[in-house]
C-alpha cells in the first residue's frame, strides 16, 4: 500500500483515538500520545505497526492521540486512515 497523502480518522472523544497519517520518504515512524500511556503505550504502538504490516504500508508516519480506545477501535481507526491516505482510497 502506498501512502501518498495526509489523512486522519477517529475523534478525540472518550474511548476513541485520533489517528493521523503522513507520508514519509521511507521507513516507519509511530508516535503515541495516550491518556493510558503507562498501561497501554507499548501495546498501542505494537497495534499500529501490526496494522501497517498487514497492509504492507511503508514510508509512513503515524501519530496517535488516544483517549482510551479499545484495541478493536485503534485497529479500525488506523485502517481507515491508511485507506484514506492511499491512492484511490474511498
Amino acid at each position: 500500500m502506498e501512502i501518498c497523502k495526509e489523512a486522519f480518522a477517529g475523534t478525540l472523544e472518550s474511548s476513541d483515538v485520533l489517528v493521523e497519517i503522513f507520508p514519509l520518504e521511507d521507513g516507519i515512524q509511530v508516535e503515541v500520545q495516550s491518556v493510558v500511556y503507562n498501561q497501554f503505550g507499548q501495546a498501542l504502538e505494537e497495534t499500529v505497526r501490526d496494522v501497517l504490516s498487514r497492509f504492507d504500508a511503508g514510508g509512513v508516519r503515524v501519530l496517535l492521540r488516544d483517549r482510551g480506545a479499545l484495541e478493536c477501535t485503534v485497529r479500525a481507526r488506523v485502517e481507515t486512515a491508511l485507506k484514506r491516505a492511499c491512492t484511490g482510497g474511498e
Binding site: 480518522a9 477517529g10 472523544e13 472518550s14 474511548s15 476513541d16 480506545a69 479499545l70 484495541e71 478493536c72 477501535t73 485497529r75 479500525a76 481507526r77 485502517e79 481507515t80 485507506k83 484514506r84 482510497g89 474511498e90
Partner: protein, 292 residues
Amino acid sequence: MRRSLLFLPGNNPNMLINGDILGADGIILDLEDAVAPDEKDAARILVRHALGALSYDGVEVIIRINALDENEFWMRDLEEVVPLRPDMIMPTKVRDAAYIREVSAYIGRLERQNGIEDGAVGLIPLIETAIGLENAFSIATADPRVKALFLGAEDLTADLRCARTREGREIFYARSRMVSAARAAGIEVFDTPFTHIDDDEGLVEDTRLSKSLGFSGKAAISPRHVKAINQTFSPTREEFEYAREVLAAIEAAKAQGKGAVSLYGKMIDAPIVLRARQVLEMEENVKGGVKR
C-alpha cells in the same frame, strides 16, 4: 424473542462497547443516517472490528446499511460486515421485491466467499417510502432471508407529504398495512421509533398502540426507551399462565398417548405450542437483568 430494537450510531466507539447491556433484545448498528457521508468508511470499518472483538451475547445484531443508489456504499457495507456473520441486515429505502433480491444475491456471494452457510444472514427491510409501503407484501415474500418488516415513519411521512405527529394518525394506515403484510407472509413486524426522547408518557402510549395493532415489537432511538418497550411487549401474567397450561396439556396428552389436544375448547396446534414455548422463554430472560 424480540421486543425492542435499539439504534446505535455505527461510528461511536462508546455506544458499540456498551451496546449489549442496554437491555434491548436487538441492536441496530447504523451505517446509514447516523453517519455523515464523509465518515461512512470509518463507521463500517469500526463496526467490523467491533463485531470481531466484542461479545454481543444475548442480543441480536442488526446492521442498517445504506440504500441502493449510485454511491454503492451498500455494497461496501455488506463486504465489510457480512463476513462477521451479523444476525440480520436492514436494507433502507426498500422499494420492491427486486431490491430485496439484489441485496440477497450480494449477501449470498459474500456468504459463500467466507464459508458462511447460505441464508445465515437474515433481512429486515426498512419500509419508509410510499412505494415500499405499497409493495409491502411482495417485499415480505421476496426472499427466504426476510425475517421481519420494519416501518420508518419519519421518512415515510415526508414521502406522503404530511406532518409527523405525536399521536400518529397519519401513519395509522401504514402501520396496519405493515402488520397485515408481515402476518400474511408469516414473518415478524416492528414499529417505528418514538422520537420525543423526554416524553415518557407519550412513549408508553405509542408503544401500547403498537402492541394493540399487532406489532411484534418496536424500535428505539434512545436507550432510555428500551425498558418501557420491553415491558409493554412482554407477555402479561395471563399469557404466562396460559402458556404453562398449554405445555402442561401437551405433556398430559403425550403421557396418555393422545394425539390431538384441546384446552378451553380450543385445539392446541403447533403454532400455539411454539408461541407458548416462546412466552415461557421470555419469562426466563425477563427475570434476569444482564442477559446470559
